[in-house]
Amino acid sequence: MPGTSRWSDTTGWLRSWLAVISQAAILPAGAGASSARGKAATARPPAESAARFRDIILPHLDAAHNLARFLSGDATAAEDIVQEAYLRAFRAFGEFRGGSSKAWILTIVRNCHLNWRAEQRRRSNVEPLEGLPFTDDLSPEDSGIAERADLPRDEITPETILVQRMEADEVRLVLAGLPEAFRETLVLRELECLSYREISDVTSIPIGTVMSRLARARAIFATAWRQRLDAGKKPR
């Protein structure tokens, strides 16, 4: 039937354009500026481009996995997210304009995670806990977290933390319990050693917000850690 095949061609065409558009949403902002040149380069990346990708993007695989793992909290999903991110990065490598290659790939990982999270939500059809827009980092009054974070500072002395040396597993657990925006900022700063500028690029939030978010993330981490210590002391 010629009519049906024409129709399926059209829907296929539509679908591929949707894929192109969603691909654009994944890539770091600013990559589009050189897209005219980038398209020509990515259409058929020469062998040296693939080699260059191996040299400068592949070494960040551990960082990519670390971020995906902490963001998703799921071992299997993290690996899928990393593979997806690397494929997309490879296809868009012509649009990489230099600068921090680590920040570039981590931006893509972060966006792939957001896609995965949205997909999860669509499937489960359940009102998500973290789905509310995150806007409260500069006005702590209106979030419940703030109350915990703003405990008297004196109770969390440097000594408490130095004496009670944290096990790495415990640190992972405490990190996993933080709200996503704070967890993300801490992972990028403390584990991936990104500069404020790079964190701002990866998360597309202003540097001022990065600074205040980091300060609050540390306060919340310290409080959560202290609560763990207190809970540990109690007989079970």
């Binding site: 806007t135 006005s139 130095l162 540390r218 850690w225």
Partner: protein, 261 residues
């Protein structure tokens, strides 16, 4: 750390992260010598950083994942060097070739439009003005008018240090009937800007400030808000308020008079 040291809090984190410029670092070191509270806070931040950044905390990629990604990339690379249209129907491949061949044209058009809009700012900077109004409205909706709330200009001005890369003039206009409410860091036109907040009887005036080399001057109205723009001492100023145009103009003159020329 006592309450009066709140302004040092972010600087302490910036210092521990090695992100402060020399001037701020020096200022902070001086303060640390005098303030036991802030010194203890700095040690706490450093201990926390050390604890989190332990070797075993990050999740490295497993060898299996490394293999999987390398294989996927190799597959992708070979797919691209061979004919890309083999698996597609003739119509689809023709559409794709067509799109690829002509994608340069719309890209260049968008680029040209972008350059034009950037050059034509602020006289025809529609999006910039919309952004300013949106930021003004947002600042009131979220009850997030100020990051630093005080009527004291000497508290607001140092607060901006280390948050933005320029020094906005903070002037006291209380005796002219425009009390200072506080300051905020905002994000306009792709850059971090300073926002000062003044009040006039129940009306809020947002003053957005950022460095600008090109002189501009404009008075407009958008969605019921009045906007006034001018440049002074290589800074661009934008007033946004629901205050009437006459009083806002009065504010502009008072502010320009009191700020450094």
């Amino acid at each position: 750390m006592t309450g009066s040291c709140a302004e040092w809090d972010l600087l302490l984190h910036g210092y521990a992260d090695g992100e402060l410029d020399a001037a701020n670092a020096l200022r902070l070191e001086q303060h640390l010598r005098e303030c036991a509270g802030c010194s203890a806070e700095l040690r706490r931040i450093q201990a926390l950083k050390q604890a989190i950044a332990q070797d075993q905390v990050p999740w490295p990629a497993s060898p299996a994942l490394r293999e999987r990604v390398t294989a996927a990339l190799a597959r992708e690379a070979s797919l691209r060097t061979s004919s890309p249209a083999t698996a597609k129907s003739p119509l689809l491949s023709r559409l794709f070739d067509y799109a690829r061949r002509w994608s340069l044209v719309p890209s260049m058009a968008v680029l040209a439009a972008g350059v034009f809009l950037m050059l034509a700012r602020p006289e025809t900077g529609m999006s910039l003005q919309d952004e300013l109004v949106a930021s003004h409205v947002r600042s009131m909706l979220a009850n997030h008018l100020t990051d630093v709330e005080t009527s004291d200009q000497h508290t607001v001005k140092p607060w901006f240090n280390g948050k933005i890369d320029f020094s906005p003039p903070v002037v006291d206009l209380a005796n002219r009937g425009f009390p200072l409410v506080g300051g905020r860091v905002d994000y306009i036109g792709g850059r971090v800007v300073a926002a000062l907040i003044y009040r006039r009887n129940g009306h809020v005036i947002n003053v957005f400030i950022w460095p600008s080399m090109t002189a501009s001057n404009a008075t407009t109205e958008r969605e019921g808000y009045n906007l006034i723009n001018w440049t002074q001492a290589e800074l661009s100023f934008w007033l946004v308020s629901d205050l009437n145009a006459v009083e806002l103009k009065e504010f502009r003159e008072d502010f320009a008079e009191a700020a450094p020329k």
